[in-house]
């Protein structure tokens, strides 16, 4: 009865517009205060312990890297290079858009930073070159979902923080699905290019190509340094994040000379603000996790799943449907914070590895980035392209089907992600 009251309270708080982090905190507080003998002090205490984890440091560090890259023109260099490489084929700019998102994904852990950074440049230039708005907005929004799938990935770091799954293993596991999704999207562009007769760029001559490649080397090295470093074990995920931000800073400051020393405090401030939003929500969600712990919700959910589905594939299919639904109106990070701790024990009992579960949840939630009502990448791309949300959403549907196909593949063949 009291549990029902808490659920209703939570929904009311969210609907009237109370910030999510505070809604979670208020519900946790009232819930804990209702349990005899358990002091309310555990709520602020748990907020502290929710953040007391070295791997979470990667979140602000990757956001800082993305900010430094956009500030330091690294993003622009990557776009120029992709255009030179694939711009001359039919639908070249669309292919280039996907390619640059895959490279960007290898540097930044954030999809929305990709939509904003790449979209600002490529959407106008695609429309100018004769693409319809749907294609420009659709391909930009859809391809930037790869940002959180190809490592590094902020969402994966948060998942690791919630489940104790190895961040390195999650990163490695995201690689192949991310590349498959990218290639699949290029395939979709290929088909549409024939149908809609997409324009092509003039072929870039070899000399210019070489010049562009030479100029982009420091930028291209960034994903290699990060992914390579984590894979070869030069450093852990958190250290890679710190290293990449220092690297992006040095390249922007001394090589491209586009970062000014006086803009550093502003970049740090933006990083601080943006990262504290999800991390403060993580803190209060830890208190909610504590409440669920005292109420033993985990074992109830577990019991429910044990009685209804017994096969891992059936279970994972339900997980995908559930997060597809949740992802339409929630951001990936709060969605995981709320529901992963509940789902994890049941998955463990069914013998599903937490890395496999994590990759599936991360990819499913990335679809939520391009579905209305709450899909940040879609909203950002739509507003840059000045296209209505509904038409934009129709434009991303073919690409979503690719992501879904990859999801089915991973569910059936876990080996793909368990490297």
């Amino acid at each position: 009865m009291f549990a029902l009251f808490l659920v209703i309270l939570f929904i009311v708080l969210i609907v009237i517009g109370t910030p999510i982090a505070f809604s979670i905190g208020i519900v946790s507080l009232i819930g804990i205060s209702n349990i005899a003998n358990i002091p309310n002090l555990v709520v602020p205490m748990k907020m502290f312990y929710g953040l007391n984890s070295f791997v979470l440091l990667a979140v602000p560090l990757f956001i800082l890297t993305a900010n430094l890259m956009n500030e330091g023109n690294i993003t622009k260099k990557l776009i120029d290079l992709s255009n030179a490489l694939v711009g001359h084929v039919k639908g070249g700019l669309a292919h280039s858009n996907i390619l640059v998102s895959m490279i960007f994904a290898g540097v930044s852990g954030s999809s929305t930073a990709d939509t904003a950074g790449v979209g600002k440049i490529l959407i106008p230039s695609m429309i100018e070159s004769g693409y319809d708005k749907e294609t420009a907005v659709g391909v930009t929004a859809a391809s930037s979902t790869i940002g959180g799938i190809i490592p590094p990935s902020i969402v994966m770091v948060i998942y690791g923080g919630l489940t104790n799954a190895s961040i390195s293993k999650l990163f490695l596991g995201g690689m192949i699905p991310g590349i498959l999704i990218g290639l699949g999207m290029m395939f979709v562009v290929g088909i549409m290019a024939k149908k809609k007769d997409f324009p092509r760029y003039e072929k870039t001559d070899a000399k210019t190509k070489i010049k562009l490649i030479r100029e982009s080397i420091p930028a291209l090295l960034t994903p290699m340094i990060i992914i390579g470093g984590v894979v070869t074990g030069w450093y852990t995920a958190t250290e890679a994040a710190a290293f990449s931000s220092v690297y992006a800073f040095l390249v922007g400051m001394f090589y491209y000379k586009t970062i000014k020393l006086k803009s550093i405090p502003r970049i740090l401030e933006e990083t601080l603000k943006l990262s504290s939003l999800s991390l403060f929500a993580l803190a209060t969600a830890s208190a909610l996790g504590e409440l669920l712990g005292y109420y033993r919700v985990g074992s109830y959910v577990q019991g429910f799943f044990m009685n209804t589905v017994s096969s891992p594939i059936g279970f994972l299919a339900i997980v995908v449907l559930f997060f597809l639904f949740v992802g339409t109106f929630m951001d990936a990070i709060p969605a995981m914070i709320l529901f992963v701790p509940i789902i994890l024990p049941a998955a463990t009992l069914l013998g599903i590895s937490n890395v496999h579960l994590g990759i599936i949840i991360v990819i499913t939630l990335s679809i939520g980035l391009v579905t209305p009502p709450y899909g940040l990448c879609l909203l950002i791309a739509a507003s840059i392209g000045e296209l209505g949300v509904e038409r934009s959403f129709k434009a991303v549907l073919p690409y979503i089907s690719i992501i879904l196909m990859v999801l089915v593949l991973i569910i059936v063949f876990p080996q793909i992600v368990l490297i």
């Binding site: 002090l41 502290f48 953040l51 070295f54 560090l61 220092v246 405090p265 939003l277 403060f280």
Partner: protein
């Protein structure tokens, strides 16, 4: 009044940026030390505790800016007095939570003040716990400012 609170926010911003910088530097030191084969075991604790300070500082600045993740479909449908009333309700609810952070955070801070750090036993845990009551207090100030502003605007008939 606004000026004083602006100043408070600015100070807090600099504290947050300072802690963000500290943990970046410390993580870098950790990588370098490992390659120079020097044993440093205190980096992780300093990095994590600075990180916690930075996050709480950032989160309270975002309270002042009213920028925390929230759903605004109800708010966007309302205007005038109704919108102000809704804003006040939300802020009062938040204030309940932040005052609670202040009061109980202070109790935790005092209770565990003398617990020491693991890698640096001379450092007290109290320094770290202090961030919770401090944040609770600052967030409460910002929220009260929002409530007051809403009331003033309502009186002005906006």
């Amino acid at each position: 009044m606004k000026k004083a609170i602006d100043l408070l926010e600015r100070i807090q911003k600099y504290i947050g940026i300072a802690f963000l910088s500290i943990f970046i530097v410390v993580v870098i030191i950790q990588i370098i030390a490992r390659y120079l084969e020097i044993s440093v075991l205190w980096t992780e604790e300093i990095a994590v505790f600075s990180f916690i300070w930075a996050v709480f500082m950032g989160a309270s600045i975002m309270v002042r800016k009213e920028a925390h993740f929230s759903f605004d479909f109800l708010k966007s449908k309302l205007s005038g007095i109704k919108k102000h009333i809704l804003d006040i309700i939300i802020n009062v609810l938040m204030l309940g939570f932040t005052l609670y952070m202040l009061v109980y955070g202070k109790e935790i801070m005092i209770t565990f003040w003398n617990y020491n750090w693991y890698s640096l036993p001379d450092f007290k845990m109290g320094y770290v716990w202090a961030v919770i009551p401090l944040t609770g207090m600052l967030m409460s100030i910002y929220i009260i400012e929002h409530i007051v502003n809403n009331i003033i605007q309502m009186r002005g008939g906006k």
